[in-house]
Subunit: 220 residues, 2 copies
DNA sequence: TGGTCGGATATTGGATCCAATATAGTGACT
DNA sequence: AGTCACTATATTGGATCCAATATCCGACCA
């Protein structure tokens, strides 16, 4: 009957399904920052009741993707430039730790996986496929971050990425930014291969700083 | 009819009430790590239905206080020494940032509030009131951390504190540890008053390291 | 004309009921 | 005795229904 039930494998519980759909809708910008989330309408559209929907919203609230006001409901979170700066600053700190730890335990396999992801980034970039590039970009970064072997740290960083994903298209929409990202990624890989962790971290810092500057140009 | 409805002001929504009760029960050790959470029994005990209980559990899951397995239910999170080490390491990094930012904006009023909290810590310590000391200790640290003016950072640190609260009594139960904590707090205040941020951070690091060592002695 | 009060309506919060899944226990078979 | 299949039961996941609250809108009044 319902389309969603057909396409692809649906998660075992309704709330996991809803969670995935919501996360995608918000990080992709389909649901715009500040927009109210009408539970009844959304539940009907996803063909579930409001119970699993509300539980999924509670998770997203914890991740900062939505905000909640008692008896008023949920809204897609709005981030000011101050908020974005804070998030990127926290990322800077946490990712430095992750990369430092990861570099000390880096295997040739992991490094190969990172390079593989980078090839996908470049391929998608040349094709102008922003969505694919964003996905590959994420693989690039998280393959490295996950090599830290610190699950909580990875989770925190993931959450911070998700929180700003809705604003990321503002950056990757520009060709120049995409080319710069590719260049920075290559520098990170070189540094890692040479065992120069500090250099890798500096390049990643620069990578992020450019993103912040671009956002500032649009929002500030 | 019900006792909980009478004592004190109850939060406006049932789920906020349940959330507070659960958080208290877990961080205080009333619900032991690894214990399963039977929704029906707990809901009845708190005189609410399972719906607000489940939403509260979702929040606590996001904070890492409980874990969830589909169709098996919620369990109070169990932390290994490896987990504790990771949490304390992340705290070290995040709190350093918070303190550094806070120190740059520290007002005499905030400093006074910190010293006030410290007086409460010492008073409770002398009286041997571990619960009151833990509360005052928290005020001491968070008055400083909140002075950073970085709300997300404060929230992350809060969550990390909560996650290990159930294990904190293992540290503050010992008289020697309590005395050492008092000493370290004083050193932090002195450093802040002299404007020596790095020294304050070093003392806080030592503070945490002692807690980890004590936990290691018990769990490792 | 502006503001405030009050009721109608939309929407969320919560309770109850039903369905799906996991687990424990029982018995047959090797 | 041990193992597998099957059933019974406990527990969670989800749907529906009801209650509480906020918002909107019009009437009334200064």
């Amino acid at each position: 009957m319902n389309g969603a039930a057909q396409r692809g494998r649906r998660p075992p519980t309704a709330q996991q399904f809803v969670l995935g759909e919501l996360r995608r809708a918000i990080t992709s910008g389909e649901l715009k920052p500040g927009a109210p989330i009408r539970q009844d309408a959304l539940a009907e559209r996803l063909d579930v009741s409001r119970v699993p929907l509300r539980e999924a919203l509670k998770i997203l609230e914890g991740e900062g993707l939505v905000v909640h006001e008692a008896h008023r409901g949920y809204f897609v979170a709005v981030l000011s430039m101050t908020d974005l700066r804070e998030i990127y600053r926290i990322r800077e700190i946490l990712e430095a730790e992750a990369v430092r730890t990861a570099a000390a335990r880096l295997t040739p396999e992991t490094l190969a996986a990172i390079e593989e992801a980078q090839r996908d980034v470049e391929r998608a970039g040349e094709a102008g496929d922003v969505t694919a590039m964003a996905a590959a970009n994420r693989r690039f970064h998280f393959t490295l971050i996950e090599a830290s072997g610190m699950p909580r740290l990875v989770r925190l960083i993931t959450t911070l990425w998700d929180a700003t994903d809705a604003y990321r298209s503002l950056y990757y929409g520009d060709t120049l930014n995409r080319e710069r990202a590719v260049h920075e990624h290559r520098a990170v890989i070189s540094a890692l291969r040479e065992g120069d962790v500090n250099s890798a971290i500096r390049w990643l810092d620069r990578h992020r700083a450019h993103a912040v500057a671009a956002l500032d140009g649009v929002l500030g």
